[in-house]
Symmetry: C2
Subunit: 240 residues, 2 copies
């Protein structure tokens, strides 16, 4: 029985940061951030909880790593598209990623110590605006406006107690039944005449708001208040 020498009872694949982060993401995707505990994560990895600490400094570091991994999933804006469709595509991708990983909306990492994927993503988005003719200042406006919208939308979407159109209709009917209509007539109207209509799906709102923001940015770009300086050495970050 067993091989002649090296009678390894089980090869036991070693742990590493990537495996830890990947398993943590799966866990958080399934049960939310609160389901992510070091012990459960250890179970999933066939390892004791404390072993994880050989690969991440602490739970915060783990979550930062997860957040950066998520950023890596977002489709970067294409160099070949014009700025608007490049940003539009990556924004749609961004929302999809946040919908896939709802816990990521609440993670504060990005601002404090962004990882390489996050930095790369930001650099590419900023570069897309700059090369699209936005001044530095307008780029800051644009970046803030678009990403605020996306984050906020993802958060609202996540906090809804339903996802599919069927669930939506069911939940909305219940909520409407409980709602004092005399007290909240407009809310009742919106629920009855819009949310409860067949085929309603909150996610469809995303593109409406996104295009509204993008059109606004296009107008802002061409409104002269700050003539707009030259983008920096435009070839630096090329090569996809």
């Amino acid at each position: 029985m067993a091989s002649p020498r090296k009678a390894a009872p089980a090869p036991r694949i070693r742990l590493n940061r990537e495996r830890v982060i990947a398993a943590a993401i799966v866990l958080a995707d399934t049960g939310g951030l609160e389901a992510l505990t070091m012990r459960r994560l250890g179970d999933d990895l066939n390892v004791e909880a404390m072993s994880i600490y050989n690969h991440v400094a602490n739970k915060d570091d783990l979550i930062n790593g997860m957040a950066d991994a998520i950023f890596g999933e977002i489709e970067l804006p294409s160099h070949s598209d014009d700025w608007k469709s490049a940003i539009r595509k990556r924004s749609i991708s961004f929302r999809e990623v946040l919908a896939r990983h709802p816990w990521a909306t609440t993670v504060r990492d990005s601002g404090t110590n962004p990882g390489p994927a996050t930095l790369r993503h930001h650099d590419r988005v900023i570069g897309t605006f700059r090369n699209g003719g936005f001044s530095v200042e307008k780029t800051a406006h644009a970046f803030s406006a678009v990403d605020s919208y996306i984050y906020g939308f993802a958060m609202q979407e996540k906090s809804l107690p339903f996802t599919t159109p069927e669930e939506t209709a069911a939940m909305a009917a219940i909520m409407l039944a409980q709602l004092p209509r005399a007290e909240y007539p407009y809310l009742a109207e919106l629920t009855a005449d819009h949310v409860l209509q067949p085929g309603y799906y909150y996610g469809d709102e995303f593109l409406v708001g996104l295009d509204l923001v993008l059109d606004g940015l296009a107008t802002m770009r061409d409104t002269d208040r700050h003539p707009g300086s030259q983008p920096p050495h435009s070839r630096a970050a090329s090569r996809p």
Copy 2:
């Protein structure tokens, strides 16, 4: 020793839901949601942790109550203003409230079981759009777009590692020094030429994006795709 009868060592004010929620908000404002523990809250209220459970069902209920209280702080859209300035004012107020209570951005309550202040707020905002000439469907678009933007902006603002312009400049200088400029040229440019400029304050971005969204909504309102039905009995929710 002590008074003849009723030797009350201290009158000991009774607890109630409002006092609990108010103290919890102060705690969360100071140290974030993670500083809010039942024991610490008890200390602040001169009470044992378990006593709190006579006034809230559990910690989630407490947080929901906090969220609803926060909504009550937001200035409702005025009936006398036109829709745009009414929404603009309440949006600015909304952001101020979220900046004052950063923990509130992450609370998921609103969607699942909103409190009375939340419902009232939503009803008034929806009503403002309806009476401003938005169809039911366009009202849904508008509501989603504006609130997504506000939530997202508040979240980004909160996640920045600085608040005042001085802090901003200091932090930005440090981050810029650590940033591989060759790898992230656009990010470096934005930081150096914009964020590091004297007087830069991220909060100023808010109005830029907000007005962009509001202008977009005004355009959308007047674009005919759905003629727009009549608002429901317009006098229902009057009286400020």
